[in-house]
Symmetry: C2
Subunit: 208 residues, 2 copies
């Protein structure tokens, strides 16, 4: 019997997963969690084989799904974590994989794919949705972009529509420095304008 913990803040999704698993003879839902903290507790005390983890939790939470994944994977006798989420943003996928997730599924996946993934995860294998797998490979090919925290800070201001002057005032630096940061950002993202930088950063998941 595969012991599964469901961690998702949507009651509807929890009910759905439970209903789908109730049909499967070899899978048992041993706990439900509506917050990352509850997920962690359940992972510690219910001795599950697999934790199904949503990445997006309500805005009230201090821990994210990725954070909870990391903590769970650091436990003794840690269960495998299968990330189940709505989006296929590059940043999310990378973050989940780095946090130690065994798989990454989208919520619109057909049920049988979900079952396969749970069984694979329980066996210690990795299961990525096909969409995700190819995206991960694409991402591997693209050289990893490393913006400094200050650069991201500036880029966020740009994304909010502020001018260099406004950004300078807001960050207590000179306009020259803002331009300097932007020049570095442009070069790293291989673009020529602020709007293009925002667009690329959004696509890459650097900006939300």
């Amino acid at each position: 019997m595969i012991r599964v913990v469901i961690a998702d803040d949507h009651p509807i999704v929890r009910a759905g997963l439970k209903a789908l698993f109730s049909i499967e003879p070899d899978i048992e839902v041993v706990a439900e969690a509506a917050t990352p903290q509850e997920a962690l507790d359940a992972a510690e005390h219910e001795n599950p084989d697999v934790v199904l983890m949503d990445l997006q939790f309500g805005s009230g939470e201090t821990t994210t799904g990725a954070g909870a994944t990391r903590t769970i994977r650091a436990l003794d006798a840690a269960p495998y974590v299968l990330v189940l989420t709505n989006y296929d943003s590059d940043a999310d996928i990378l973050g989940a994989v780095e946090a130690g997730a065994s798989g990454y599924l989208l919520k619109d996946a057909p049920p049988h794919e979900l079952m396969n993934a749970v069984r694979a995860a329980a066996a210690g294998e990795s299961a990525l949705a096909p969409v995700i797998a190819s995206r991960l490979l694409d991402r591997m090919r693209e050289p990893r972009v490393n913006l400094s925290s200050r650069e991201i800070e500036v880029l966020e201001q740009v994304g909010a529509g502020r001018t260099n002057q406004e950004i300078a005032a807001g960050l207590f630096i000179s306009e020259t420095t803002v331009k300097s940061h932007l020049a570095h950002i442009f070069s790293k993202l291989d673009v020529a304008s602020r709007t293009a930088a925002v667009s690329v950063a959004r696509r890459k998941g650097i900006l939300r």
Copy 2:
């Protein structure tokens, strides 16, 4: 007995809703639909009281959830449509209400709120999630922004990071015309720069 049709492309969500409704003595799920078209068929032939409609369907669909809502509401003896979706974007809410939805719920709503909304809808009343209701009021206060289709087209290009020259070439118009459209956009959105326009448009749900 309240007859309900569930229209959502996520098998997990359909299973969840069905499971939740199975507990309620006065609500019966008479059909499930994975596409807008299926939803329309079910609305016509199953004689439901309420259709629970997701707004986001897979990219392969020709009709949107809002479109299906409009069509369903135009039927003889039309059922009430309750929109149940993930996001609370202004554009989505407005679109759903204009299409004739009786209510707008978020998928992370607690089950009892969902049940209340279904019963209210079946009785011909409106049920909006509190979050949505206040947002709708905010939106009413803000003067409605009406960008022409051409202006939106230009704005999309701007959001993709293209320069005026590139946009002009792409749309087969002169750069002057692009600037003219942008000037109108700026004035309508009450901003002073292209990046600010994109930012505001995104917040208002004009751009995704």
